[in-house]
């Protein structure tokens, strides 16, 4: 038991959950067929906003973290309206460029402390630890120290956010909005002709994506004590894309799995430290050869569903028929 509560493992779980959120954020834009690589940029806006609000203005974390999400959303409004006119690789590079521009602006601003970054950011675990102490759990609970307890609480909190997002995404899929997204992804022109307001829906997906990335960034800032412009470079943008592509961008479970694997993989490869990157690169290539659609696709889900719940199959089909008709 104690071995599994090792702060090293707990920290990796935290990174995994943050990355899962980032994977979900890119899933929202992919659901409308837009490849947006601006998530690292939105993440940085969320992180800096929340860190500065809590550090300089003394705002409590439960207010500053949502504020980070809102700030990312505001910025998404500024660039989203022209950006949704772009498609395919143009959108990808324009949003990637947006992330770079944000990074350079952060480098040049006084309040963000340039390349030196912000240190001493109030940590979520410490805050929770204080709360636990005031609840009289200062000596821990059932053999678990207060530090482990607060780390576990942070994980619980992050997991709640991820579960909520997954639930939201699943509900979305079967809603009017989700069907509009799917129609746009399938064929934008056809969707437009049949009366779907494509610009509005694409913009909405863009906002949702930015908001989630902003929240993830804000949470990340408060579990790592320090943020600097370097954390949100081109590499981060590509990493987030990889979550979705490796796991599978068509279903919500894909980015989750991708985030899990890609967070864990570098740690597992630590034993072969010198060749870590090479193996990582090789795996990406091999992966694309065998499963370019990602590890999980709709077929995978259907297959597993029919294997696990053979009885539910007919019901599923009935639902499918109804929604088709």
């Amino acid at each position: 038991m104690d071995q599994w509560l090792n702060p090293y493992y707990l920290q990796i779980v935290m990174f995994m959950l943050i990355n899962a959120m980032l994977g979900i954020s890119i899933y929202f834009t992919l659901a409308t067929g837009q490849l947006s690589l601006g998530n690292a940029g939105f993440m940085s806006v969320g992180a800096y906003t929340s860190a500065l609000l809590s550090l300089k203005a003394g705002l409590p974390l439960y207010l500053s973290i949502p504020a980070g999400g809102v700030a990312a959303c505001v910025l998404a409004a500024v660039i989203g309206i022209p950006a949704t006119r772009l498609q395919g690789i143009y959108l990808a590079i324009a949003t990637l460029g947006f992330g770079e521009v944000v990074r350079v602006i952060i480098l040049n601003m006084k309040v963000t402390n340039g390349a030196l970054g912000l240190s001493g950011i109030p940590a979520l675990s410490v805050q929770i630890g204080k709360q636990l102490n005031s609840l009289g759990l200062g000596s821990g609970l059932g053999g678990i120290t207060v530090q482990q307890l607060s780390n576990l609480s942070v994980i619980g909190l992050l997991a709640l956010v991820v579960i909520f997002l997954v639930f939201f995404a699943l509900r979305l899929r079967h809603s009017r909005l989700g069907r509009a997204f799917a129609a746009i992804k399938d064929d934008e022109h056809a969707a437009e002709v049949t009366g779907v307001d494509t610009v509005r829906y694409k913009l909405l997906a863009f906002f949702m994506s930015a908001f989630v990335a902003g929240i993830a960034g804000a949470l990340a800032a408060h579990i790592t004590f320090y943020i600097g412009p370097k954390d949100f470079s081109y590499h981060r943008a590509v990493e987030i894309l990889l979550f979705a592509v490796l796991g599978g961008g068509n279903v919500i479970w894909g980015p989750l799995l991708g985030a899990g694997i890609l967070t864990l993989l570098p740690e597992l490869l630590r034993t072969v430290a010198d060749y870590r990157e090479m193996i990582y690169g090789g795996i990406l290539v091999i992966m694309m050869i065998f499963r370019p659609q990602g590890l999980i696709s709709e077929e995978t889900l259907r297959l597993w569903r029919s294997k696990l719940f053979p009885a539910a199959k007919t019901e599923q089909e009935a639902v499918a028929r109804r929604s088709a008709g």
């Binding site: 702060p7 954390d231 630590r270 870590r276 090789g282």
Partner: protein
């Protein structure tokens, strides 16, 4: 049949890809980290977090080499036995956090050397502090590093001690009146160096004609230097690392800008002279590390380093080398290889230590107290500027 042939082809391509990964991994040469001998008896496990792959790998590699040389020497002497557990941080915050957590909580190291960047230290310092494990930066020069917690140490000289003497000496020597500043604005170390430069220049009553920035890994400096040349400063002050500094020196001399160039810590490397050649003449830097020093410790270190790695050590290697000796010293005095608290207290009490970077002691804030020498490149060598 067709699908089978297709999958065969797929397989072939994948096999090729796999083969490449494996062969490439194989031909790298045997530089494995020391994994042998689990903390048996008197062996102290020291963790290392270093920037070993990615843009700053040149610096992380020098640090690792300095440490490994020191480890071999210390183990050969036999007073304390040290085992290094080396982790790569790739210069990324999250990687550094994971590496530090692993070292503290999985490998149970008694102290940590590193990480390479100040930004990484801001992220991992609190973790080490919370666990009570001493962590010592050998290249983290930014302001406020040791305020993170009382187990955070450094033996790298803060900019505030190195830059002002260099600026002052250069002014006295060359009668500088107006200067231009250049710094790398995406490097925390250089930005903090720039701030110190700015202050020191003002204190010495000189005028700043322009401040230009560049970025790490830039190779083209013609635009900035052309602009600077047109303003005719008496000297250029540069805060950056030696790779960029060498290119700046070369370009400056190429366009006829033959004024003295004062650098920060990043200039202090034989690589600067090697890369810039004759263009390095007149580069000035203040540093505790001076390879030409008439000192047996320094001479032995340089000879041993050259014998082992076939190149000249730089400041990064020298400071890392000293760092491990300081830790060994503390371990010996503490008389333990596992009690992190005793090691910390013993480390904080280190004084009168004589290393390759001179006489050394920690001050009350666990910052180094040491003497600096102002150096100038003359005839292809760092010599003391008198």
């Amino acid at each position: 049949m067709i699908s089978m042939r297709k999958s065969m082809k797929k397989f072939g391509a994948a096999a090729l890809a796999m083969l490449f990964t494996v062969t490439a991994a194989g031909c790298g040469g045997g530089s494995t980290s020391t994994q042998g001998g689990t903390a048996a008896g008197g062996t102290a496990k020291i963790g290392v977090v270093s920037y070993l792959s990615g843009g700053g790998a040149a610096y992380g590699e020098a640090i690792r080499q300095g440490l490994e040389l020191a480890r071999d020497e210390i183990n050969a002497k036999g007073k304390v036995k040290i085992e290094l557990v080396i982790e790569d941080s790739k210069g990324e915050k999250n990687e550094a956090i994971n590496a530090t957590n692993k070292l503290i909580h999985k490998d149970n190291v008694v102290a940590i050397v590193g990480p390479t960047l100040s930004g990484e230290m801001f992220a991992v310092g609190p973790i080490a502090s919370q666990a009570g494990v001493s962590i010592m930066g050998t290249s983290t020069t930014a302001e406020g590093i040791t305020d993170i917690g009382n187990t955070v140490f450094r033996n790298s000289l803060p900019e505030s001690l190195a830059i002002p003497p260099a600026v002052k000496k250069a002014k006295e020597k060359f009668g500088l009146k107006k200067v231009a500043i250049m710094y790398s604005n995406n490097n925390d170390f250089a930005v903090s160096g720039f701030k110190t430069f700015e202050k020191a220049i003002k204190e010495n009553g000189m005028e700043i004609v322009t401040t230009e920035t560049f970025a790490d890994k830039d190779t083209d400096f013609s635009a900035q230097l052309t602009k600077i040349a047109s303003l005719q400063p008496d000297a250029i002050m540069v805060a950056g690392l030696y790779q960029e500094a060498a290119l700046i020196l070369k370009k400056a001399r190429e366009i006829g800008l033959n004024v003295p160039v004062v650098g920060n810590n990043g200039f202090n490397s034989p690589q600067l002279i090697k890369a810039a050649g004759s263009a390095a003449e007149g580069a000035i830097v203040a540093s505790p590390w001076y390879p030409g020093k008439d000192d047996a410790t320094v001479k032995n270190f340089i000879a041993a380093y050259k014998a082992k790695y076939n190149k000249e050590p730089d400041q990064f290697a020298a400071q890392a080398y000293d760092a491990l000796y300081i830790i060994a010293d503390a371990l010996e005095k503490a008389g333990t290889t596992s009690d992190v608290k005793k090691v910390r207290d013993s480390l904080a009490a280190v004084k009168d230590f004589h290393g390759v970077t001179g006489n050394f002691a920690f001050d009350a804030n666990r910052n180094p107290a040491m003497d600096v020498t102002v150096l100038i490149v003359k005839d292809g060598k760092f010599t003391e500027l008198k």
